[in-house]
Symmetry: C2
Subunit: 105 residues, 2 copies
DNA sequence: TTAATATTTCCATAATATTGGAAATATAGA
DNA sequence: TCTATATTTCCAATATTATGGAAATATTAA
């Protein structure tokens, strides 16, 4: 992963509405949630929601798919795994005694 | 972890210089690296470096300790583990088949 | 005490991000 | 086709963040 991509993903998550959206989608699983449902659950007006969803999508953290009038968003789990791996790369210079593995889910 | 703290940590990491500093400290291990060495290795001027280190410290991602004239910074591994746990909390609504654990280091 | 080194604070400039109303676009169903 | 519903784009106001030179602070060593 290139640093520019990591910074973009972290910036996408570094905002309360977007972090809430992302965590909701992480919980929701691969079936995803429609944009309107996200807006209603989180109390975000349409224009603002659309802006935030575009930011998350561009960063590769969520993926939209169209179903009729609805746009359904789901979390991109593999992209998040890559981001976490990037953050912890070469952790403790390979001294395993210093750092224990973390179970993701 | 409260969402405000997670947003602060993510915002601290969402900047190229700060992400480079953090990853360098993650690699360096618990002994840490002096501020000046960080600035020299990454080509960041003193005032800018100090600003970024303050941001990372306030977010709880790094910890400074003073040794004579030097201020030595080290990564706060446990805070990063908490952040990762927060991001992936209740991942896939508990359906373990959907998401595999990731080894951190 | 004086000089050298390490880091931080101050400050102004410049760049970037957030917000949401209103209008535009797109699909579904009557 | 006409109407209702879902989402996005446009836009301008507002807020936040990044940058680094110069000065201030702090410690060490001579």
């Amino acid at each position: 992963m290139k640093i520019e991509l990591a910074v973009e993903a972290l910036a996408a998550l570094a905002q309360e509405s977007r972090l809430s959206i992302f965590r909701l989608l992480i919980r929701a699983g691969k079936e995803g949630v429609a944009a309107g449902v996200l807006g209603e659950k989180l109390g975000i007006p349409p224009a603002t929601l659309s802006f935030h969803l575009k930011t998350l999508t561009h960063a590769g953290l969520v993926k939209p798919r169209t179903e009729g009038r609805f746009v359904i968003y789901s979390a991109n789990y593999s992209e998040m795994d890559k981001l976490i791996a990037y953050l912890t790369e070469h952790c403790c210079a390979g001294d395993a005694a210093q750092c224990a593995p973390v179970k993701i889910c």
